[in-house]
Amino acid sequence: MAKLNMVQALNLALRQEMERDERVVVLGEDVGRDGGVFRVTDGLIDRFGEARVIDTPLAESGILGTAIGMALGGLRPVAEMQFCGFSYLMFPQLEGHASRYRSRTHGRYTVPLVVRVPYGGGVRALEHHSEAPETFYARIPGVKVVVPSGPRNARALLVSAIRDPDPVVFLEPKRSYRAFREEVPEEEETLPIGRAQVAAEGTDLTVVSWGAMMRPALQAVEAVRQRRGASLEVLDLLTLAPLDVGTLVASFRKTGRGVVVHEGPRTLGPAAEIIARVNDEALSFLEAPIRRVTGWDVVTPYFQREEAYLPSAERIERAIEETLDDQ
């Protein structure tokens, strides 16, 4: 098994799926000759040609809108938005059409496509390059939202997303692109969309996170575990829509305490929905308010202030401690 970083793992998934299924095409700004600004599509154009690895004009609505047409026409497009902050330009096509052809025609026409979106902070980028837009996409019925947290699950989830019959927004935590490597098998691997993973089992408190925040979350968990021997459960959501309510609720019923960690603003972030689901089905098990360690309700600051604003292992640690200490 090769040790790959997330960029390489995603590239592997694309390459293998394009080899396996000639309906798979890749399109977006600079995905061809340049190999994508993060190099996720590196080398694909040489292997599969310009017709299947499409350098598009600079227009995000155009990219998703034509990808919808390609999907209706029997292809399996994988579109790239160059950065999260520009992905909103494709929102109307996603909400208005990609998410609706199936329901509009009761399944006669469907739109199996993937929109890859590098997202989140931590790479000292310009304005609009560091947003965490999970809510905007997870709130659209008819759309699936997937967020890998490491090279291996990134590869497996991207394969599943490409084969999925529905439009999938695939959020790639860009801070994790090259942060670490994992063994990724050359042989095919998939992971089910709509299922969370228990990254660590525990009984005292549940930490829920996904994407790039999994690493500080796990660090914080380790620190608290060492310091006070607490038994901490950690969930890696992997899919934000549809939510794996079963796994979430089961964990909170067991632990009765929790911390949810995400980068985007607190108001209407995914943590709110998680808390609401626990309220629905496990309120009587709760021993303390679930804490939210999230971005703040401010415009994403430029990079000098970014680290101060992103959830850190320290903030998570503190929230875990406070939640454990709550009477």
């Binding site: 095409v25 155009g62 809108g65 034509t66 047409g69 209706l72 096509q93 009761h106 549809p242």
Partner: protein, 361 residues
């Protein structure tokens, strides 16, 4: 050398059959009697189906809709030029074209009576009505790209939209992608002079809508949209070019919205009756009937027979509309995703349980 001419462009207009029924024989397309009669029949059915629907709407038997009366020629004549392998990607004022493609009039009624079931029809490669102005043009470009990639030389995508749609960014992105990709797309603008209350001249400063294609290096032509022969010829030429690998074309079909924008609209607030009256004189049906008569293909007797036939067909559609009820209430849960998920299924159960109780309580 300091002021160098770089590029020049011209937009032309095509008319073959004028409003008095005069024909330019040199340009007359070679259509069989069967094709001509089919075109006339479909346009007539669209007109009658539309007018009947207005009454249905006033009786509360269908919901809001946008009448197509007066605009029968561009969609129908374009669809006549298409094959089953071509994609039909309309907006919401292409009833005649959808009928030509084989969409049942009843489906149109059922859709406008608020049932997604009205979108489930067998007509080949014909997408349902698209409400978001301009958005569908991009889908056509994607469909065309897919066909080209797969080497389906017999397939083009034809997309329709209004004069107002040419102001939306999506329309320009579609033309531009089609131009760069040399995708087999035919863009048909139904310039009916109005976008709800906004007249054509306030929609854009451009003298023609055809010239919008110049921005994207795409050939374009304006045609008299009430002249079915001109529309057919332009569409046929554009489709031949598309099938032959020659890329996209924009056709601006100049026509007129003789009725209100939708049944919720009151056009007397913003336009003169005199203008409408002027356009009634250019009615595409009258003109086309004269043409058929001169060709010896039509007379009063056949007209009477057709009217009777259409009346029956429309009545049948109305009956189908009345019969279309009682569809499963939980269909939205069934079709929101292509895979089953616990969270959705539990909501469906909650929904159904609630309905049950509400029905009893």
């Amino acid at each position: 050398m300091p002021w160098t001419p770089l590029a020049s462009f011209e937009i032309k207009k095509l008319q073959i059959l004028d409003e008095h029924g005069n024909l330019d024989e040199a340009l007359e397309p070679r259509l069989s009697a069967e094709q001509l009669l089919r075109l006339y029949r479909v346009m007539s059915l669209a007109r009658e189906g539309d007018q009947r629907m207005l009454k249905l709407q006033r009786q509360g038997r269908v919901g809001t809709f946008g009448p197509t009366t007066g605009q029968e020629a561009p969609p129908a004549a374009t669809a006549l030029a298409m094959t089953e392998r071509d994609w039909f990607v309309g907006a919401f004022r292409e009833l005649s074209g959808m009928l030509m493609r084989g969409v049942p009039l009843a489906s149109h009624y059922i859709f406008h009576n608020g049932w997604e079931e009205g979108n489930v029809f067998e007509a080949p490669r014909t997408l349902p009505i698209s409400i978001i102005v301009g958005a569908q043009t991009l889908h056509a470009v994607g469909l065309a790209y897919a066909a080209k990639l797969r080497g389906e030389r017999d397939t083009a995508a034809v997309t329709f939209f209004g004069d107002g749609a040419t102001s939306e960014g999506d329309f320009h992105e579609a033309l531009n992608f089609a131009g760069v990709w040399q995708a087999p797309v035919v863009f048909v603008c139904q310039n009916n002079q109005w976008a709800i209350s906004i007249p054509r001249r306030r929609q854009t400063r451009a003298e023609t809508l055809a010239q919008k294609a110049i921005a994207h290096g795409v050939p374009a032509v304006q045609v008299d949209g009430n002249d079915p022969l001109a529309v057919y010829s332009a569409a046929k030429e554009a489709l031949d070019r598309a099938h032959g690998g020659g890329g996209p074309t924009l056709i601006e079909a100049v026509t007129y919205r003789l009725m209100m924008h939708t049944t919720s609209d009151d056009p007397t607030r913003y336009r003169e009756e005199a203008e409408v009256a002027e356009w009634w004189k250019r009615d595409p049906l009258v003109r086309f009937r004269k043409y058929l008569e001169r060709k010896g293909l039509w007379d009063d007797q056949r007209q009477a027979a057709l009217e009777e036939e259409i009346r029956r067909e429309v009545e049948e559609a109305v009956r189908a509309l009345e019969a279309a009820k009682g569809f499963p209430l939980d269909a939205p849960f069934e079709h929101v995703l292509g895979t089953r998920h616990e969270a959705i299924e539990r909501q469906r159960a909650e929904f159904l349980a609630g309905r049950g109780e509400a029905d009893h309580g």
